[in-house]
Subunit: 260 residues, 4 copies
């Protein structure tokens, strides 16, 4: 592929670490630092990873940062409503233009995810530290490269169906939970030229982002949603006055109508 | 099926008729009147059809009207921005809860359609009164019941790809245009419990809604997107504290974390 | 819809009942009799249900029987290889032409299912009489009409992913199994004009077809896959010598090439 | 990605060249030679391309050749029925296990394509040397990398809908034909671990495989369907006697039933 490294921005709400000792102890430098390390562990010089936080000006997502981001990862939970609508629109536009987006765990309720999905994005949940087993249901997919047919997380928060999303373009993982639920834990969608990958694991009070399988999926995901040149795309609706092929119609056209 | 008639509300912007003599002459009682008649022509006592207009209080879409609507059809063009966001949210919520929605022609840029799709919804266009031929690509689908393998509209506005939509759950029609473009003219998506059907024809300066095939598709569409009882659905994200099956985990759960 | 009842043929291998006392005790008149009763329980005069068995001439699926079948249900396990290829081809052709097909449980390995899917159709399995919980993931779908958000089967054979099928057009149920697996238990596909519905439950040594939810799904499925008139369909590849629109090309065509 | 080149085998029926002077003049070394050159033109050392012909022993597709093929391209027309069923089964198995397959033009009726699709695979056709314009409808897809929003072929055989295929996982091109038809000209499906890409252009009496856009798509396609390691896959249906998680069920299991 390209010789240029994939430019990744790890976006993090960074709220729990400041309020909850369990989280702070697990992630002394913030969850974003561990996600960054996880991606770099597998991709090395294939990526150049930066971070951005809610607390920063423009949430760290200035136009310049986004223009220089190929793949954005998103973790949020408590502070979804504190994300500025203008920044959400900015990210949205970049996704349509081709930037890859990886939405993690409680990011299912992030403004940007709901805006891209067009559905409620709700789900069931339970914090009982139960076991999760993620089954691969798309074994040839690049995102599962190097995985076994399932992997387990010993203690997780449960997310259960109904997960209120549009039919995924690709369903990659289905989770089994000890307490009795199932969940579509790995899904992709195309929006404009951009690819969106939702990946379920990531509860802040468990060491999820230290798990080697989770990190592998994250790294595979970065490579998968990274943009190609593709063919032209525009958010405009262009008028094509001159037909490409001859029109034999003899209908009288009222020129006053030519406005859209 | 059910003995109750399907309750349809035909929503119309109703702007062109007041400003353009061609449109006024074609649709002296408004396009909504002709759409209503078209649906009734094929479905008779199977439907009960009302209309609602932008100019009415709450655009004619009060909570009561929506609560008593099974299928909403939507035609808009010039005045998309005049539709109140609160009404859009109200319609959106009803679609997720199961109300069927049929979006017509220039409604591709309606707020409600963009909100449900999560994409830019742009397209190419040309007003040259050219011929359109709509090919059926899903011959067993209820929406094409009674059609031939294609039908033609002698004079139409052209809509061309790229149509910036998410992958349709079902692709039903592809249009050929005399001037050289193609278009995915009939598409469906599921959003929450609701079905959305986009149908391309409907330019205001041509007698499109008098065409028997267009009317047949409209009627078939009403039946197709009409809601079923289905299984439970909620826009909430419920906590399921009590597991359905026993959890053998021995992990200590910090109760202070139990907040979502 | 039509006033005519849907003509259903319940096809059954009918082998286990003769060899295994448990099955014979559960289904003294054969599983097909109970499936038939289940469909009739919910659909009454909306259906006319017949049965056909492997042991009958042409497996009970003569051309005449198939020509008068709107929906075929298929249960097989031990004797997949005893089904005549000619009969499989006959069923296949009818599905493409619009007959609905419901494939049940171990029918995942039936010749007709593999031929329609184009994949291996394998899965994992275990007979440990464990609990299965089927979660609805498509709450507005006609097939789940009248169900709750999940239903349970106290004792079932387990089927686990990877279920080697093409991406379903619609995913309706995901099963949770006590022993740790998940499964896409309700899926639909379109093939030609026909709809195919695979529904997992149905192990012969448990009273699955007496379960009210299973019967409800079976009845809903019959209504869902029943054919419409639709638009024309042909298994031929017709030559369309005369173009529908004028061709301005000036290329010399070698007439000797006109053979496909 | 991998440092190893993608191993491509270009399979060709190689019949028309021997019977038709037009074809022989266009492709003096056979169409396969030109396809090979086209792939190599864009991918250079990223690929290692071999060819295989119907006329060779085992049609050039020995088990060894297939075991050393990452991507197989397939062109056939007159001699579909001369392809040995055993070879078809061999290719089929390799696709499910992960080998990429690119089916070209009249290959829509090849045994291997029909077996993988599970449908009739028919279409309409006309040889009138008309113009074809292929529109990109998936602008971020790797297969359209480097293309404009459409490309044209001045003289082609027409293929028209209904193209009797299962819903593609991805729809990439829609063709417009001068004579009035449309066609889904670029489609992908997943089968087992393998990716299948159907690409329409390729009529033998026109210089299609010399066209730079066609060659670019072919090269992009090779990269897209090339297999990854992925996660484990098996054509077997394994019994998983030992549950992954404890089963609390108390049901008596009759051991004599444990046979699948």
């Amino acid at each position: 592929m390209a010789d240029q490294p994939i430019r990744v921005t790890v976006w993090h709400e960074h709220v729990h670490e400041k309020k909850n000792k369990v989280v702070a102890d697990l992630y002394p430098d913030g969850m974003h630092a561990v996600m960054k390390a996880g991606i770099e562990e597998y991709l090395g010089s294939q990526v150049k990873v930066g971070t951005a936080l809610l607390e920063q000006p423009e949430h760290g997502l200035t136009q310049e940062v986004l223009d220089n981001t190929d793949v954005l990862t998103w973790w949020g939970h408590r502070a979804h409503n504190e994300v500025d609508d203008e920044i959400v629109d900015r990210v949205y536009k970049r996704v349509l233009e081709g930037m890859g987006l990886i939405v993690l765990h409680s990011g299912h309720y992030a403004k940007i995810f709901k805006k891209l999905m067009g559905t409620g994005c709700g789900l069931k949940w339970r914090e009982a530290a139960e076991k999760e087993r993620l089954w691969v249901v798309n074994p040839g997919h690049p995102i599962v490269d190097g995985l076994d047919e399932y992997f387990e997380l010993e203690h997780t928060e449960m997310y259960g169906e109904l997960f209120d999303i549009p039919t995924p373009d690709e369903l990659i993982f289905i989770s089994w939970f000890e307490g009795g639920e199932v969940f579509r834990s790995g899904c992709t969608w195309t929006r404009g030229k951009g690819k969106v990958f939702y990946f379920r694991p990531g509860h802040e009070t468990f060491p999820i982002y230290y798990d080697k399988n989770v990190r592998k999926v994250l790294a595979n995901g970065v490579k998968y949603v990274a943009p190609r040149t593709g063919s032209p795309y525009s958010l405009k609706a262009p008028n094509i006055d001159k037909p490409l092929s001859p029109i034999n119609s003899t209908h009288e056209v009222d020129e006053s109508l030519h406005q859209h």
